[in-house]
Symmetry: C2
Subunit: 222 residues, 2 copies
């Protein structure tokens, strides 16, 4: 008789911690990485995953992984590990992947194009509506089915669509002047890929994608 | 008589904390952002900066800024604030900007191209030597004076030049297979821009540029 691993999903709990309690940035980051791993396992048709497999891949403590997973409303766990599909779903619920967030990309240069082509975004609830640029050679063209529009059309479109997230990828010398346009267009969240610290009013939030800081952190001890 | 603010650089201390003590990742990240601000002040010919100006721009506590700066070997401080040029220099010394780190970009798509064109890298000690791709339409071309080479040439060139940092920007489906090539070519540091958790041996370090995790963290409460 073959060994039987009974992995029953528990009954669904009404309590969803993701909706009620603030999860720290570090945990969100790790959960996203777990999600990458689970995606890969699913593509390889692997059904179960142990916390120490995740830990080994990320070079972190097994106990850390288990602690992170314990805050999820995860229903599938058994002797051989977590049920990959269940764990993936519980991360998605907790982090709100299903709640689509619309955004504009500002700057249709290489970085803007790369982000527009990054199909993975939609899996995580980020929906790019359009790109904006001031280069008339680019305006009117499309990338990955997203049109490049004249930056002058941004205020109108932002108000009409209610989009208030902008991904800023313009050259550094135009960063602040472009941010000023975004602010006037009622954009409230700027995901800033430029190496410039933007000056914004209090009701606008900026996330600095500080690439150099990350690189320096990574290579500090080399 | 005009008001005189005497801002004398103190004598140079032999003790350089940056070389002797590990600085946390968070501090490195903040110091890089301070550096961006100082760069901007210099371009506007502003000589002094107060900690609360930095704090306001980054929406963090003034005391945090002062604490971070206190670990630098910063020599210029006076009643009107820090001397911008001195503070900038002390961040550069502490974070080791002057110690150039050579790297390859793997993948000459939009993201690879964007990073190759990012001139700001050199200011932070990151020197891109060349790009690699397997697309024969791209091989032989240059971007920002950096040549795109056949990925097959990587092992040889890596050993010849001693470059052991690779910036991975290939499509996700090629991430692991490309990482395997890098590992065989004795690359020891992989700055990973793909949404894939790479499987690597213990002596190889990976920094996951977890864009989706950052986005989710930024927009979690929207």
């Amino acid at each position: 008789m073959p060994a039987l691993f009974v992995c029953l999903p528990l009954t669904f709990s009404v309590y969803n911690i993701g909706m009620e309690k603030k999860i720290s940035g570090k945990i969100i980051n790790r959960l996203t990485l777990y999600h990458y791993i689970l995606d890969d396992y699913i593509s390889k048709n692997i059904e179960f995953i142990a916390s120490n497999q995740i830990a080994a891949l990320l070079n972190i403590d097994d106990s850390q992984v288990r602690k992170d997973i314990s805050i999820l409303n995860n229903s599938g766990k058994c002797r051989v590990g977590y049920i990959v599909k269940e764990l993936k779903k519980s991360i998605e619920t907790t982090l709100g992947f299903s709640k689509t967030k619309n955004a504009f990309i500002i700057g249709a240069g290489n970085l803007g194009m790369a982000l527009a082509k990054y199909d993975n975004f939609t899996n995580y609830g980020l929906n790019i509506i359009a790109l904006f640029d001031n280069d008339h050679k680019k305006i009117g063209h499309s990338v990955n089915n997203k049109i490049i529009l004249d930056i002058e059309k941004l205020p109108n479109l932002s108000r009409k669509t209610g989009v208030d997230i902008a991904i800023l990828t313009v050259p550094r010398e135009f960063a602040q002047i472009t941010a000023d346009i975004l602010i006037k267009a009622d954009i409230k969240y700027i995901w800033n890929f430029t190496p410039v610290v933007l000056s914004v009013p209090e009701d606008v939030q900026v996330w600095n994608e500080n690439l150099m800081g990350n690189f320096l952190q990574f290579t500090y001890n080399i």
